[in-house]
Symmetry: C2
Subunit: 390 residues, 2 copies
DNA sequence: CTGTTAGCGCCTTCAG
DNA sequence: CTGAAGGCGCTAACAG
């Protein structure tokens, strides 16, 4: 017994077609169409939304859904008129393919996952933009996951990407990440993975890096050329390659130029702002101040500048500073921060290119590749004690 | 019968381990390793990956997949032992539910879409973080789409979200966006939509905004209290509510305090950096300079500061400046930028709360709600001509 | 060139 | 408490 949803009428009800596999009714008394509320679980019809499917197009055109499917895919074996009719109808009905169904049927989601540790600084956003510029034209969407510098969130993100059945993943880890167990599952499932920028040891995958060692070396060399001799290093976490490589570049530059290495001039921080401030303070409260600081990245260098200024230390005459990454802020602060620019756009593009290569490769055995990109020294006021030698 | 992929040999084939869940073979004749091409669709074996399914768990345990499904969902009608066995096996096999299949079956993706115009400035990232803090605990994932300030990309993003069958969308539009036709499809499909920050007219949806009018008014009032009388406005696009509201707040503050409104002191920009520079230059090259500028946002204010400094104009004595949004950079630049802070985290949380409310509402007719959050005036050096009255 | 059929992984009835 | 069966929307053989 069907009751009108609106007026409660029972007798004047007529059937009126089927929508989404559900019988539709018409109440003659109050002129109202309705579908029978689900008998099975009346309380779960959250939203009665409907997005058009190939079935809608098919029945509108009185053809089979296979034909619609083929027309939509630009299959060659199809009548030009049929195709046109299908495309027109699709447009008219605002058709958008259901990616969930598509992915399920093809066992490919055409989605890439991007895991970054944070996106408050513009470093990773620029990389993501580059990544999208390669992924989108190739027909892939992108799910962006940011881990908030938390290992737990990073692990959760890997699970989300697994569950979303992404076709590939590019990732840069948090400062906390020491083990890469949670990334192994991509490999076990045969999902290609490319790491970039922040990596740690123990994963045999393709990588896109900048030459951190070389950049650090040149940054420190620049300080030496400016006459600095007591050069400190505000170093990054040593579980990350970046941290290690930049420290090594610093050390080698000192050695190369015959400068002593003082342990108290090397302090570490964990990539958080407060930690940067603590580390900077530690350096600037030494009995004998360094005459310059090479910071592992710009945010740390900027905190150092702020603290130095608050202590009345003159930059660059009393303290020269070099950072790493060329954040937009680094050009704004006074004095401008000398730093090593990274080709962010290119990192993003390269990392997705490598990934797509692996995804679309027919080979069973993929040899991981590593791309190393160059950095560029950008000299600004924070380190400029003498005119630049050109 | 296995045939060598390379030479067609049938007899001299040996098994050689399993790669990615697929048997690998070795042809002794031509010394060639290969995996057996998929029998069903030889040309489509893009990747032979396999992620474990409930079926895998079921057959490992010799039970039906329905039981596995129920156990995994924490259904009550299930034997405690069975459940434990299932959960253990799921863990052991690294099971992750297939979100594509789940979404297809339930007609809900448990995914929210976020559309932002850009994420280079930290404004939107902070909002996104707030949004995730509400979405994730509620069991929703988030797809972040950034439109790169391009209308075309924005339209593409709406299509992606439609195709991904997101359960709801929160969006902030680009500076180019004048019509909201591409957002109507969400409404047609019954997908809840909440707009925030950058909105334009013509869409009857829930909104989360800050009190732009009030903020602008107070910013200008502050300048007046500092003794400024010839106050310029570097205004935003007038297709956006923010642009209009902040302009109105500026105008009303002037009127309230009996100051004249000069047309040449109001210039517009389109939210790009170059446009900000052009607008700032226009103001700073007037025959009679303004004594202060209220900029529609911090990036514009910062460009103005840079150009003023390059022209040798003293800030704040010759030119006082007030921005809007409190970007992190605004605290770093010299002098510090006076600005109106927005509660970014709260915006993000509120916008998702409204959205979830609509998604989970049982009502057919939802009355759009508008939440207006307050801004906070942060006074820094760029506007401080007199000691603050406390 | 087109329709039919089976299946992707999961949930959800309906019967035991 | 558990299994069988059907369907979510789409693709891809397989027949005509």
């Amino acid at each position: 017994m069907i009751k009108c949803v609106k007026c409660g009428e029972v007798d004047a009800i007529a059937k009126s077609g089927i929508i989404r596999g559900k019988q539709r009714f018409y109440c003659k008394r109050c002129d109202y169409y309705f579908t029978q509320p689900s008998l099975l679980s009346p309380e779960t019809h959250h939203h009665r939304r409907h997005q058009t499917t190939i079935m809608d197009i098919a029945s509108a055109l009185q053809i089979s859904k296979s034909t619609v499917s083929r027309a939509l895919q630009g299959h060659s074996d199809i009548n030009a008129n049929t195709r046109k009719a299908v495309l027109d109808m699709a447009h008219q009905l605002d058709y958008q393919p259901n990616l969930l169904a598509l992915g399920l049927a093809k066992s490919r989601s055409f989605t890439l996952g991007i895991i970054v540790p944070e996106f408050i600084n513009s470093f990773f956003p620029y990389i993501i933009i580059g990544a999208q510029q390669v992924a989108n034209p190739a027909g892939y969407h992108v799910i962006i996951c940011q881990s908030n510098e938390s290992l737990d969130t990073e692990i959760a993100n890997t699970n989300v990407l697994m569950a979303s059945r992404v076709d590939g993943v590019v990732a840069s880890v948090t400062a906390e990440t020491k083990s890469l167990d949670h990334f192994h599952k991509f490999q076990r499932a045969g999902i290609p993975l490319v790491m970039f920028n922040r990596i740690c040891d123990g994963l045999d995958v393709s990588k896109v890096l900048v030459d951190d060692y070389d950049g650090a070396y040149r940054g420190v060399e620049h300080l030496i050329q400016q006459g600095c001799t007591r050069i400190a290093h505000l170093a990054g976490p040593q579980n990350l390659q970046v941290g290690k490589q930049r420290l090594q570049g610093y050390l080698d530059a000192l050695r190369k130029y015959g400068l002593p290495v003082y342990d108290e001039l090397i302090v570490y921080y964990n990539l958080t702002k407060t930690s940067a401030q603590a580390a900077a303070r530690q350096l600037l409260e030494l009995p004998t101040l360094p005459d310059s600081i090479f910071a592992v990245n710009d945010p740390a260098a900027i905190e150092t500048i702020l603290i130095a200024k608050s202590k009345g230390i003159k930059i660059p005459s009393e303290l020269a500073i070099v950072g790493f990454s060329n954040e937009p802020t680094s050009a704004l602060i006074e004095p401008g921060l000398t730093t090593l620019a990274q080709p962010l756009d290119e990192i993003g593009k390269t990392v997705v290119q490598l990934l797509l290569h692996e995804i679309e490769s027919e080979d069973d055995v993929l040899v991981p590749r590593t791309e190393i990109l160059k950095t560029q020294l950008i000299v600004r006021g924070s380190s400029l004690r003498k005119p630049l030698v050109s």
